[in-house]
Amino acid sequence: MTEWFQGQLGYGFGWFVSTLILILMIALPLMLAVAMIIYADRKIWAAMALRRGPNVVGPFGLLQSFADGLKVFLKETIIPSSANRGLFLLAPIITFTIALIAWAVIPFGPDMVLADINVGLLYILAASSLGVYGVIIAGWASNSKYPFYSALRAAAQMVSYEVSIGFVLITVILWAGTFNLQGIIAMQKSHVFFLNGFGFNPLLFPMAVIFLISAMAETARAPFDLTEAESELVAGYQTEYSSMSFALFWLGEYGNVLLMCALNATLFWGGWLPPIDWAPLYVVPGIIWLFAKIFIFFFIFSWVKATVPRFRYDQLMRLGWKIFLPFALLWVAIVSGYLMITRYGALA
């Protein structure tokens, strides 16, 4: 595609136009996916509570999210008189932007990746470490008590779980020997047992579990949604927000949830590779496999949200600092030791 545009429009400009189209091909379907995943979340949650969930707008209520979006769009943007106007409006922009940009390095297929950078995983870690700013700035700029407390909680919670996520990622990097996400996926092809490509790695499996739980805490999903615990903090840092600025926090949150599901699929379960290394399965495009895996993980997120009661803050901190962190640290030593012996021939 790039070549065609460059032929039509000249070298630099052709590249610019084609890249812009590729970016929109990621960003716009992503927003559509977020809308649909919110609907799916509500449906799954409702089904587990023996309710029907949204079923009025469109067939099976499929258009519910769009109706909500339209409604929210036409609402008034209320900016509290005591708030810092600029920062108040900047916070949702930051949240949503960060939720979008991390997708630039996620591989959707063998050569379907916008920016195939060497340090892809670090880039994602960097992007996710910025997620805390939207929340802190929103909480501070609102100049209101509940958002402020919520921002504090959110910041401490996110940084605590980022520590364990960092160490979990190191075990993945150790195994793959590269930060490049395509490389990490490629390494999962050569695997234990016949389940090639499915990426089931007994050594990394405990890390996959820790990553899944930490991802829930990092995105402040139930049961770790203490930042918006309605019984104590009203709506948390979103309390003062309205209209589309409020919706952007939602879109950002679900965008991040999808990203975490995509990461889980990519780092531990073979990304766009088919579940079993069997030739006919490769006929199905990789993007379908990736989406299927993302949806499975999203279902787990929903399932947990519907069934697990909310943690208390001290329990949350203990899980992060006293269980996940030492376990992940130990696992770094174990995985690297195993690789030293088997792959790099330390004893030979």
């Binding site: 509290p80 880039y123 520590v163 590269t178 203990r318 690297s336």
Partner: protein, 125 residues
Amino acid sequence: MAPQAAEYLPILLFLGVALALSAAFVALPMIASRFTGSHKPYADKLAEYECGFPAFEDSRSQFDVRFYLVAILFIIFDLEAAFLFPWAVSLGAIGIAGWTAMMIFLAELTLGYVYAWKKGALEWE
């Protein structure tokens, strides 16, 4: 420009597009509400939310020092991870000496971690 840097141009462009999109999402409803007539601010509506009361005090109060401690511990473990990143990809090249060095490094940090645990710095009552 270094050859690797060219890979980041799409990301820069993506950043621009994402910023523009989200800024549009914030700005457009504000403009739209002027036309639809939903933009009707008044003093009570613009007051900050405090369960229906007027605000008692300044919301930006001092808070517990434990939040600082969590942030500081986070920085230290983040730096530790920063050392682990290049180590993890160059494990084959640096061999057993590099591996042992990192294990000693991790042991040092574990010492600090055990100290934090014993002191109760990881406690959150």
